[in-house]
């Protein structure tokens, strides 16, 4: 099961090398992401949180892993990974051409192919967020979906959005209760 986490550092070789933007770090000290634990290796305790390597495209040997530091503990990440999904398929409304003014198309993908969810530069905040997933080894896709960032864990855990949480912190509390 995916987990909501405060990421304090994200270093990778891609052009988006500072995903935890300095402005987020300066104002909050972290940035919210929803990560899939099936991409994590070398998970270690770091202070009161953890550090690990994360693979955006785990089927492609050419791509190096990112280095992340998180406020989530190792135990929380392990517990999240051991929590079962509602189904191994998940359905989201995909906006064609990532245009939030167009009608979303319900599209189903394998939960194993999901890398992470992000709320950055969300053009229709807070009604949608970015889903980053892989079309197997062939292609990495960044897709705008019609689910709020806080509603994503509910969809993967129960199949529907029933959350009334309005902030990532509240959603994290709700998700932790499920775990």
């Amino acid at each position: 099961m995916i987990f909501l986490s405060q990421i304090t550092k994200w270093v990778d070789s891609r052009d988006s090398k500072r995903r935890s933007h300095p402005r987020d770090i300066w104002s909050l000290g972290y940035r919210w992401f929803i990560l899939n634990p099936n991409r994590i290796v070398d998970l270690k305790v770091r202070g009161t949180g953890s550090s690990f390597k994360f693979s955006d495209n785990h089927r492609d040997r050419r791509e190096g892993n990112s280095y992340l530091e998180s406020n989530s503990t190792v135990a929380e990440i392990i517990a999240a990974h051991d929590t079962a999904y509602f189904s191994k398929f998940a359905t989201f409304g995909f906006y064609p051409k990532n245009d939030p003014t167009r009608v979303p198309v319900n599209t189903t993908i394998d939960v194993e192919d999901i890398a992470y969810f992000d709320d950055y530069n969300d053009p229709n905040y807070p009604e949608c967020c970015w889903l980053v997933y892989d079309r197997k080894a062939f292609r990495r896709v960044e897709q705008l979906i019609n689910v709020s960032f806080t509603g994503v864990p509910d969809i993967l855990l129960t199949g529907t959005t029933s959350t009334t949480s309005t902030t990532p912190a509240a959603t994290e509390a709700a998700t932790t209760q499920h775990v």
């Binding site: 089927r59 398929f89 189903t108």
Partner: protein, 155 residues
């Protein structure tokens, strides 16, 4: 996760093989672990991208439209096999007069299984599977029906 039986409405691929023209009665077994971007069509069918080689970045996915609904696809994907391994009687060197060799393969490495009209007459099936990401294998197995393969996986 595993194989599901479906009838093919449309199959567009950059690969040279044109399976849709080969299928006996238009039925085939596909593996749900190869599916991506599944969408329901207006007539209750589904269209999706099918990755024959999911671990090979060079292999583009096929586009398939089939007669199975999304709910049924989800059911097959969530179903548990009785074992992670399946045992198949594979004819050596593509020769159905030779003695088949019992070979055990992980279900997740099987891409698809189908029957041509000749296969149906001879009581065999064609199977495409992958030796992990290394090699694609096209073999003939000693199974007289696709339903029999499904029964071996789930029952």
């Amino acid at each position: 996760m595993g194989l599901f039986l479906t009838s093919i409405t449309d199959w567009t691929s950059k690969r040279p093989e044109k399976y849709q023209k080969l299928l006996y009665l238009n039925y085939i077994l596909l593996n749900t672990n190869r599916l991506c971007d599944i969408r329901e069509t207006t007539d209750g069918h589904t269209e999706f991208l099918f990755h024959q080689a999911p671990d090979d970045r060079r292999c583009s996915p096929d586009h398939i439209t089939c007669g199975t609904s999304l709910a049924v696809l989800r059911g097959w994907h969530d179903a548990a096999e009785q074992s992670k391994f399946g045992t198949f009687s594979i004819f050596p060197a593509y020769d159905i007069t030779a003695t088949p060799v019992e070979t055990t393969i992980e279900w997740e490495n099987v891409a698809l299984i189908y029957q041509t009209r000749n296969d149906f007459t001879n009581g065999v099936c064609h199977m495409i599977y992958y030796q992990e990401s290394f090699k694609r294998r096209n073999v003939i197995i000693d199974e007289n029906s696709l339903l029999h393969v499904l029964a071996e996986e789930y029952v």
